[in-house]
Structures are given as C-alpha cells and as structure tokens.
Assembly symmetry: D2
Homo-oligomer: 130 residues x 4
C-alpha cells in the first residue's frame, strides 16, 4: 500500500462517523433498533464497563499495568472489553443525537479552564476534584 | 468557511487520534500521568458510566427517550456524561497501548459472523445473547 | 420442630452477626483474608451489583416485575445475585469495622427527617432527590 | 440499660426483618412504592455501589485501608454509602419476594462445596474463580 493510501485507510477507520455508520448498518440489517431504548443502551454500557473492571479484580494496580504490557491474552481481553464499551457509547450517542467528538472536545476545553496549568500542575488535590 | 475547510475541520475533530492527542497534552501539561494507573482509569470509567446511568433513574424508557429529544437541559447533561465516559475510555486505551478504532472494528466484524443476518433478523432471543 | 425452635432458628439465620460469622469462618478456613483488600472488596461488590443489573437488560420494568413473580428460574437467579451482593457487603463492612445494621438504621432516621411525610407523600419530585 | 435489654436491643436492630419493616414503613408513609419498580431499584442499587466505589478512586489499596482505620470522616462516608447499598438491597429483596438471609446462607453453603478447604486454602488461583 502506498503511504498516502495507508494514511487514508487509517483516517477512515479511526473516524467516529465511519465506525458509527458501520455499527448502525450492522444493527439495521438485523432489525435490532426496536430493542435499543436509550435507557437500555446506557444500562448495557454500564454492564460492559463492569466487565472491563472485572479484568482488574484481585490485581494490584502494578499487576494490572504489567499484565497490559506483557500478557498477550490479558491485552486481547482488555481490547475486547474496551471495544464493547466503545460500541455501546457510539449507539448511545447515535440514539441521543449527540456528536461524541463535539461533546468530548467541549469537555476538554471546559477542563482546560477549570484546571489552569499553573495551579493544577502535579497537584493531586486539585486532580481529585476533576 | 469554505466547504473543503469545513470538511477538514470535521475530520480533525472526529478523529480519535486527534482527540487523544489533545487529551494527552492536557494531562501532561498538568503532570497528571503519575495519578493515572490503568486500574484507576478503568475504575473512573465505571464511575462516569454510572453518572450517565443516573440520568435514567426513576424514569421509564419512554420518558428517557422523550427527554433526550425535547429537554435541552437533559440532553446537555447526557452529552457531558457521554463525554466523560469517552475521555476516560481514550485514556484507558492510550495507557494500555490499544487502538480503539481497530479493536472496535474487529468487534463489529466478529459480531457480523456471530449473528448472521438471516438468523438474527428481528430476533430478540438471539439478540439477548449478544 | 416446635414453634419456639422454629422462631429461634429464623432469628439465627436472619441475624447479620451470624451471617457475618459464618462468612468469616468460610474465608479464614481458606486463608483468603490476604486477598481481600477493602478496595477490591468494594470493587467486587460493584461487579456483583452489575450482574444483578444484567438480569434486567433488554427487559422493560413490567417484564422484570412479571418474571420475578412467575419465572422460577429468573427468581432463582435474582436470589443468587442478591446473595452475592449481600455477602460482599458483609465482607466490606467487616473489613471496614462497620456495623451495617447501625449505619442502615441511622440512614433511615436521617431520611425520616430529610423527607417529612407531609411534604414527601406521593411526591416524585422530592423523591428523585432522595 | 441492663445487659439483657441491651442484648435484645442489638438483636432487634441487626435483624433483617426489622430493618426491612422500618424501611417499608418509611416508604409506605410517603406513598413511594409506586416509584419503586424492581428494575429501577436494582439500577439504584448499582448507583449506590458506584458511590461507594468512588470513595476508593485515585487511592491505592493500602491508602484505602489506612483511611478506613484512621480517617473518621472517611469512615463515616464509607458507613453512609454502605447503608445506601444495604437499604436498596433490602428494597430489592422485598419487592422480589426474596428472603435475603436464606439466599445468602444457601450461597455460603454452595461455596463451601465449590471450594473445599483442602484445595482452596491460601490458593489465589482457585480464589479468583470464586
């Protein structure tokens, strides 16, 4: 693949709109929209977040970190659970008519104002109020 | 703004890499990486998912749906909580060295095989095993 | 069993101290206390709460209610997940040196003051601030 | 208070039936049963479990342990969040017609069989399958 094509391909796949479009096509081909109330999508997002959390159960923070670096199977499961959270988040946003990139960008901007660099730098106390 | 510029702008903001880059710059300017163990990032993602869920507490599925369409304040809060979940998901992925778009794309492909259209179409039973 | 014995038996089993004593004996016979940090016990309680929530996924409130009344298998699973939440709650309380009955009683008392009957009666708005 | 009275008092308050009776009286005096679908009670239990988890956010396991022992304010907040989880668990059980003490006792018995002392003793591997 030429460098330019490879870059275009990457852009395509890391684009929220494209992922959402694929996901909605998947859903609609199976006629599953009828089951997807916004409340149940949000509930499902929570269940997937919990499965991600389960991967850290009975492991210290250091052990989790090491497993993510060195244990291929653990990293694959992390990837799968992150994917599940992400897909439900895209479905929630689509259902609620939200532009995820926009609200996330706005949130970073708000946090930049809320936590000025000079005050927040290396400051755990401020940090815990994030 | 010219049409082409507007399109470029949209691409920039809905691009996972760009959002992640902004978020990491925000984090590093404040020297906060030291607080961000993978275990605590995943735990924090769960807390934000729960705040999103709280917006649906004591509301029927129909009321949630209607509020998302007609209640500007409710929709703004939905947007903020979705943003918080999304930002922590980006931090988790960055910390774990995961490419979110890649794992999400792979998961859709896996689900396309797991739930063939002809069998899954409009089928809630199959669906609940998703 | 005589009526008095039956009553004593009931008292014994529904007593928090007795349940906790049985649970701690179970844990200590297996030398598992070493794995039970308070943080991981609380995390585990969340995972079990999530498994309970999963039983309601893709079901309307009315369907959940009906299943709890009429579906023996569903009710058994509800019982198991509630038991898991309860057992972790007892372990959390034991580890943190908390008297669950005392803090729960104090919370009811606080709520009785916070939500006076005359103002709160049938009032969903007040209620949602509970 | 005489020793016997004190003991009776303790029995009364640590009894699940009595706590449930107080809680139901509280609920019914405010005519709140109408808001308490089983699905929303279970959802609310999850929200409270999450508030308990939030107390451990950005704290290592050791710091959480120490705070529970030495920080009076932290311990009070632990107590409040545990109480909230407990009260919703009692409401869930009452609504679902479950005897919490019974299902919890049965679960301990099942775990005693599932994890025989000789095999499970000090064994984290077995443990993580609990």
């Amino acid at each position: 693949m030429r460098e330019k094509d490879r870059r275009d391909e990457m852009q395509r796949t890391s684009h929220l709109e494209d992922l959402t479009a694929r996901l909605i096509a998947f859903r609609d081909a199976r006629d599953w929209r009828q089951f997807h109330s916004l409340k149940d999508l949000i509930l499902s997002l929570n269940l997937e977040a919990s499965e991600l959390l389960e991967l850290t159960q009975w492991k210290s923070a250091a052990v989790v970190e090491e497993a993510a670096r060195q244990d291929t199977d653990f990293k694959a499961r992390l990837g799968e659970e992150c994917a599940d959270v992400f897909l439900y988040l895209l479905l929630v946003a689509e259902r609620a008519g939200l532009d995820l990139a926009e609200v996330a960008g706005a949130k970073i901007t708000a946090n930049e104002i809320k936590y000025p660099v000079e005050k927040a730098r290396g400051n755990a106390r401020k940090y815990t109020e994030l």
